[in-house]
Symmetry: D2
Subunit: 437 residues, 4 copies
């Protein structure tokens, strides 16, 4: 039996669940409106998937984990889809090889949209008919499916940007550029006292859902530190480049330097042109590089080198989470998550005065924390146990969401993760530094 | 100035040229009728191209080599297409990287079809208006463009078969299977006397067009030999497999054996299943292997191993051409191409009695001849000089056309060529053997 | 100016320093006694180096970091060696490519031994002549050089084992097998209370030297846990294999399962043969697999899978260090490293009764801790700053030393590190598990 | 039973055979005199082998093909050598993987030299004792073994040059540079009439031994042609480079251009430095590039591009052989190899006046002929049948021997062969061109 025991989810009224289901599902289809069937077919690298595959895979998730369990007399929409749209669940059976997803022209986009429609109707039917006894289980699995679909909404955007970038005619996905320019201002530093702090998902603070990798809530010691008031910008990246940043091994991790040399990296992903005249490919097509917009599409290697060049370092995920918890808007109180008596007061407590900007929803912020299990971590039981845990190796945690993350999807305890060479996400840099005792 | 001086082409009446132009162009579009825009987007390996790319590239050929030269006030349909749909002409300028052709979702299929329509109209206009002085040049280039398009018609079929083969649902391209089964009969041997024989394109024998690689006509000595009465069949391939053919190094060229091991080849391309029950993927979908149909989709390595296993060898391209010339139906007479006095009569001349079957239009026949320039070979002048000559390295000649070759495209002097590991063409085997003196 | 400010090193009398220098240097030469010049030339993979290169590189370290600084009128032994025997110090200049170290036949082994002799004499001379003012600096750098040489002593052994393993005649390096078999006994569990614990190098506990990566000493929270009484053995590995361990994806990290499939791993490194009759290649030649000897030469992936199969997990490096500190023999007291008032007492304190065996010197123990900088970490200043810090990415910490680690080299705070696919070290597994609150 | 039926070898007196055996075997050992055991261990790429391996492999050849057959009560020197020193004879059994030959430190060089001594003594004993009935067979196999050893003598030199080239200290193998500079003189052209010409080994012309690939002698038609009076020189290569030869795709075969780009080739192998100051690594160490010395270490791609740049082409192997046969010194008469009545006289016959220089023994001359079987070719029977035939794919024929070829080893019918990207042989270019009829 499936049990998402680590996450706290209230049973919801059926009508509310149905409404959320419809809203998220509709949003996915809205994302492909600017795309043709041919666009939706593109796969530009093994790590990215065609938009059509995303549309089908998230539907497969509901079919496999919800309908198969809760629909009386379940029959699959198409028996072949079980293999074709399985991503990585060995427990479910065979999978179509990931690097070949772009070779699946059939089912066509219209057929996949039909698949979505039929599964939607059947899930709504299941929601309406499931009795009290199974309601909690059902709500948990549907909620998981919707969170999963939201993750794929973001991937759909990053993957289509990557795919379109190979077209020399630089087609635009949309008319507006998702990352906002801000008024130029120097980085300021926000100081935080450290101590033995509680980390991880807390239903009271973070809402009604979390992935298993955000649990269990647990104490970890954080030393006093400072966090930058904003993300690093393209302007600072221009300074790094002008200063020979891509040619100076002393700024890079050894593995990062190998990466620079093997890939002949001289500019961030999507950048082209010459100094004074750089342009970059965005979802809005080819654009001038704006110095006041957060730098993004950076690998961990680039983020780490940029931080070293700036005389600082990347934050740990616990430092980031501590700062995010202390946002005035979040209503959080230190008492909720700091062990009594263990908090180190700062000489001048600045954290409560104002808070760093851009913590949520601009660009994912690389942390220096490896994507590891929290102490006492247990993967979900059942087939969905493969969701997160098996990826805890050679990846780094990113925090805070990006301009491509769906509204309401991210929270202070949310842990995204990518290998250190991944560039195609909306990933940026916020600096941190130690407070010398 | 362009000059296809090696090939013999009469100036034709404009109306006849226009008619041929329209017929070939229409045939290409007929080939994609069973395909969706998504199907036409697929590229399954660097050596294969999307159907949409084929449609556009052959049009680019007319735009670049005909319109640009003959149309007054020429303006390109889209300046970006010059790079996007250039295959390999360094003289024309930059080329979009071949392995990424499948990443071009825009222009869309409808846009490419519109490109075709507009270029068609403009070429027809040029045909109607070009005066006598340029007529020959124009006819030559249009004829070349049409021959070129016919080559891509065949590639379009082999490439789409390859692409669809990655779909686990084994979609069929068409309802009929292109290679015909024949009544079972053992291989018989046709004997040919040798001598100093003329090879290569002869306008009197071969019609009004040849590629430069078929010229110049030249003498080469052929020793007496025998040629098999038919192509090898799937039945014989089954025998090879059952006899451990894919596991016995002594049957293979050294490089072929490396290929078997590196690719873990145990069956021909597109075959699957177990002995007694093999099926293979065809343009008609997944089918039982019919033992009386010619074996095809064989690499040179497989063809060579199969011949060695059968106690014979592959023919040379000159042996094949000699036999094809002696076909009763061709009306050829030895006097036309054998040096006087140099022909070695056979004790019992069998060649005139009947002729080998399946010489033309079933499966391309691998020869043991490397794709080399004929003595005195000169590539065409001008930009089209890159058409053939620069590929004369590490490729083998195939002769005779296949079930996917357009009607009327192939001739006795026609030289197709592929590297020895290429499997995805309709390539088969006809045996030859020496006549011991 | 060089400054190893993070490590605590007393100025030593010159005579004592000279004596230690001579002892360590002599030990390295003792290690190659069983080897021919040809053996010392072998490089079997980019990650491993020829024995001759080790001999020369550790000497280059003294020449570059000691003689160049302290020897009046310094002239290099051979100017080309600066490049040839630089491992990874970009600050020192060019480096000969690592994967090609096996292609350096000249200097010969006798020439390298002569290089050692001359540098030894010059270093001893420097030790004798350096005055008080520089004595501390000199002692620090020589101590670092000797610690460095000891690290290479272990690598020399693991690298030569790897190289000799490619010889089908399975030559033995030495007559004795370094890992000891022990009396069979089941794994028992030692329980530890957690709390906010001090980690990292402490001069009072750990002696007079540490690498920069062991510093600064800092608090980290450890939850109550249990640690296995001994390392896992070949007997347990046999159980894992017999239970289909190498064929069950659910036991592996996703990246580990990719590694199993890509490398077609079915047995641990150096194992061969069939069930009931496995043998493995050791420094002693080909040997039967003894079920009572610790399993070693395991990758992190294998260690992690083995732990999951056993229903447990790998320890963190902090759990391991806590247990190592509590060894009765070490004389450590909790008071030295546990924050006052923060220690969680266990219901039944077992840790003081007896201690886990094999914590030091049998096989390196994979931890689930990534090789990350400790909070507040600063690399050494100067050229030796490249020693450790730049490798802190995609590596895991191993603790405790192995049978190939030089006597006295390892300590409770010592952090070894390798990527998760590395197998050729003497790396094994000790299980840990949570204590459920 | 072994039978080298294609080659003509007289039974020789035992004493003469023994004398030749000793001379060739001793010469191999003379070649390694400048080398240390470590030098003899080097393998710098899969295509090259360690000198020690060459020493052992040629001995294995005698042990396997001579002793095993002719020595009563044969016992192998070391049973493991059968696998270790087998190059590519599947019929003999397993082979040690070629790319790992450099990992075999044991047997040591002294042990391999001892292996040579013992096998030498046993072969001499067999020669002395074999009776009349087997004498012919024995002489054939020993002769083959000696020819084989001479081939490896040349490879030993090219392989050690390649290996030493990776040493930044550029060690010299020997004190003299093997390719001679000549007085500067422009290329002149020697004209040859064509016709139906006999090619291949002729005992009367070529002596008492040939490899199977030189047989059978057979007619082939050659059109009138001209051949350059000498090899192209470094001076002409300098012109090619200065003229942008490595940057102009129109000079290259398509596959050659891919090779240039993939390998970032800008200079010939072993060249370094800047224009006006090029140096190249030779067996004599690093030397200035002498413009009057034949260019060598060229790939087929480079040779073909150089010829195209010079407005000429590479000769066919039949053109080369025809010219080599007509050397005044060779005493050949057209009557011996030109079909009666088929020779095309030239208006002004120049061939008899003087002959091209450097045809034998300076640098191997790339021909445009693929390494194909001659019509009627049969590999030798028995195990040595793997000697040549299975390599007839994707290789080009080189003719004439080089400065590294042993004295007396090469002849007019001799066919060497390498893939078109091979550079490390002493391979150069002689131009040819058509005579327009």
């Amino acid at each position: 039996m499936l049990s998402l025991h680590n996450a706290f989810i209230d049973a919801q009224p059926a009508s509310q669940l149905a409404q959320r289901f419809q809203a998220v599902r509709a949003q996915t289809e809205r994302l492909i409106e600017p795309l043709s069937a041919e666009d939706c077919q593109l796969q530009s690298m093994p790590d990215a998937s065609p938009a059509k595959w995303h549309l089908a895979h998230v539907t497969w998730f509901f079919e496999t984990f919800v309908l198969e369990r809760f629909e009386p007399g379940f029959k699959p929409f198409d028996a072949g889809f079980r293999v074709l749209f399985n991503s990585y669940y060995n427990g479910v059976g065979d999978k179509y090889p990931r690097p070949r997803r772009g070779l699946i022209s059939r089912p066509s986009l219209p057929e996949v949209l039909d698949y979505r429609r039929q599964v939607n109707a059947r899930v709504l039917d299941v929601i309406a008919r499931t009795d009290e006894a199974d309601r909690m289980q059902l709500a948990q699995l549907i909620t998981l499916g919707l969170q999963h679909e939201q993750q794929h909404q973001e991937l759909l955007l990053t993957d289509i940007q990557h795919a379109l970038s190979f077209n020399p005619q630089c087609p635009a996905y949309a008319g507006r550029w998702p990352l906002a320019s801000t008024a130029p201002q120097p980085v300021r530093w926000h100081a935080y006292g450290g101590g033995l702090v509680q980390h991880g998902f807390d239903a009271g603070l973070d809402g009604d859902f979390a992935f298993d990798n955000e649990t269990p809530r647990h104490p970890a010691y954080v030393a006093p530190f400072e966090l930058a008031s904003r993300l690093l910008t393209n302007g600072e990246m221009l300074g790094f480049i002008a200063d020979g940043g891509y040619r100076r091994p002393e700024l890079w991790l050894s593995m990062g330097w190998d990466w620079v040399q093997a890939g002949q990296h001289e500019l961030p992903l999507y950048w082209q042109g010459e100094a004074e005249n750089y342009r970059h490919f965005t979802l809005q097509g080819l654009q001038d590089v704006d110095p006041n917009t957060p730098a993004c599409h950076l690998s961990y290697f680039e983020a780490d080198a940029l931080a070293r060049w700036a005389g600082a370092r990347l934050p740990t995920e616990f430092e980031w989470e501590l700062a995010a918890r202390l946002l005035p808007a979040s209503g959080a109180r230190p008492g909720n998550f700091v062990e009594t008596g263990a908090f180190h007061p700062l000489p001048q407590q600045q954290a409560s005065v104002d808070a760093p900007a851009q913590l949520l929803g601009d660009a994912w912020e690389w942390t220096q924390s490896n994507y590891n299990p929290y102490p006492g971590y247990r993967p979900w039981e059942g087939l969905v146990g493969e969701y997160n845990g098996k990826f805890m190796c050679n990846q780094f945690v990113l925090r805070g969401g990006s301009c491509a993350t769906p509204q309401g999807h991210v929270r202070a305890s949310y842990r995204n993760f990518f290998p250190p060479d991944a560039q195609w996400q909306f990933s940026g840099v916020r600096l941190a530094r130690d407070i010398q005792g």
